[in-house]
């Protein structure tokens, strides 16, 4: 469209640049802090330019950690986070795609009831029912274990809805063609539906990976054994002690390490990420 308004173009970029600065600055500061020595935080203001201790701080946190701040070596916690995030993503996808398939492609008594039971999980975020959920997990002997970290979080109405939504857009004719071509339900699921859902699955995986990675309260509750700590929860305790003991360099190194994997996923898989996000929330 023909538009003769140069000022507007300038304003647009200005707004965007300010936006980017606001978004990036806190992390820049964290990064800077993570490259200094501990003593640098005892002299008033935080440093604004990177210091020389980057490698030292990060390798210290990765390999040794600070046991007296509740932080075992970060490499262990990162690994736990990875296990947790991946398992949650895979688990959620697996159980939701099956249930969405049942709900969309079959008619059976209690179909509506099943739908509502699943829908209810949308309404009950773990934060509002922590104590009884914790108790159930404890009674099942799942504290301090990967299953305890993972299974209670894999029921997902969102993913079920996404798949349901997607399945509804799969043309009826495709299933009819497959039936005429002699395929039964599981064959149709495997040969046609699953391959068609590939990009949805990938997009969902990205989103759910992030969901799993950023979990805080749940790992905080169900792990008392440092072998199962995840990085996001571990970091909090580190930060709490940094109040009285200024080792912000270590805390911020941990912060950067805890942020890096999911942020990289977002940046590298931007297309899938956006698709996953926008679609799961619809």
């Amino acid at each position: 469209m023909i538009e003769n308004r140069p000022f507007l173009a300038f304003l647009t970029h200005l707004v965007l640049i300010i936006g980017v600065v606001i978004v990036v600055f806190p992390v820049y500061l964290a990064f800077v802090a993570s490259t200094h020595g501990s003593g640098d935080f005892m002299r008033g203001l935080v440093p604004l330019l990177p210091g020389p201790h980057l490698v030292e701080n990060y390798s210290f946190m990765l390999n040794e950690g600070i046991s007296t701040a509740g932080a075992p070596p970060l490499s262990i916690m990162l690994l736990n986070s990875l296990v947790m995030a991946i398992s949650i993503a895979v688990g959620k996808i697996a159980i939701s795609i099956l249930s969405a398939y049942a709900i969309v492609f079959f008619k059976f008594p209690f179909r509506l009831l099943a739908f509502w039971i699943i829908f209810i999980t949308l309404m009950l975020p773990v934060e509002v029912r922590i104590i009884p959920t914790f108790k159930v997990v404890a009674d099942l002997g799942m504290l301090n274990s990967y299953p305890g970290l993972i299974i209670p979080l894999i029921a997902s109405a969102t993913a079920t809805f996404l798949f349901r939504q997607f399945f509804l857009t799969v043309p009826d004719e495709l299933m009819e063609a497959a039936r005429v071509d002699g395929a039964g339900p599981m064959k149709f699921f495997r040969d046609i539906l699953l391959p068609l859902s590939r990009t949805n699955i990938a997009a969902l995986f990205v989103i759910l990976f992030i969901y799993g990675w950023v979990q805080y309260l749940w790992p905080l509750l169900v792990t008392t054994d440092s072998r199962y700590y995840t990085v996001v929860m571990g970091i909090k305790r580190l930060a709490a002690t940094a109040d009285s003991e200024p080792q912000w360099n270590f805390v911020m190194a941990a912060v950067i390490l805890a942020m890096l994997p999911p942020v990289l996923v977002v940046i590298l898989m931007q297309r899938l990420f956006v698709k996953g996000l926008v679609e799961t929330e619809k």
Binding site: E173, L174, A177, V180, D181, G182, A183, L196
Partner: protein
Amino acid sequence: MASIDISGVKKVYGGAVTAIHSLDLAIPDGELVVLVGPSGCGKSTLLRMIAGLEAITEGTISIDGTVVNTKEPAERDIAMVFQNYALYPHMTVRGNLEYGLKNRGTPRDEIDRRVTEAARILEIEPFLDRRPRQLSGGQRQRVAMGRAIVRQPKAFLFDEPLSNLDAKLRGQMRIEIKRLQRNLATTSVYVTHDQLEAMTLADRLVVMNGGRIEQVGAPLALYERPETLFVAGFIGSPPMNLIDIDDLRDKGALALPDGSDLVGIRPDTIQLSPPEGQHLVLEATVELYEPIGGESHLHMRLDGSGQLIVAAVPARTAVTEGSRATLYVSMTDLHPFNKETGQRTD
């Protein structure tokens, strides 16, 4: 190859909507039957009942003499071509063609033979390794056809297979389908709501309306002698003009059969100079002159009733908009109907 017998078939959806009212139709082996009718008249429903995709509420459908009412689609040995083609988007063209054969456990070399053959016939060899989305609309249509013919089924069922193509391509594919069906001589049921397609493809044309059959017959027979008002209005383009007998000046002289109260006049039978033999005379004012190349359409308003009628006249006919015209129609070109019953009266 097989005959299809539909007898007393009825379809009620969800206990409420009756889509098909007790319908009978026998399709002999090798015939291509076209179902036409307005949207919602039950064409697809009927086809889908034949395919086994929809349960039959009442009556029976037999293929090749066997009642198939409770058989799964896979067991009926029919092939179907869908409006949106329903190609498996994640499989190559070859994969699409093979899928049905593989599911039936056809031996590998037989599969290859048939796929090669079908690809040759349909000229889709160059695309065998492409995915459907890499094909144009016409090419996809061919693949859909290919998927049906590799199966060598007892019957082909087509549900508006050409309606997603543009006019030009539709014309071409129509001719190809016709040829193919002639060569394979497979019993076929073809659903469309495109008149031209219906007229040109059908061995026999079935005009449906509101879940019932209005008329069955050869295409030209239906055009020339529509048995009901519905068929008269539905077939032909521009549509037949329908004029109330009371609006005709010389209705006395017409000598139409008893019970006639409407006459139908096809636009191309309206003449501007008096023909030989007995004929009808109408007076009208020309409202719009539309040249469309080989012929022109005259949109006119009849004196008296003020009804709009259309005549198709040769291209360079000398008429100006706003002028008055006298129109002539041979008595033999009149189609008399009874409004009430909707039936032809002669």
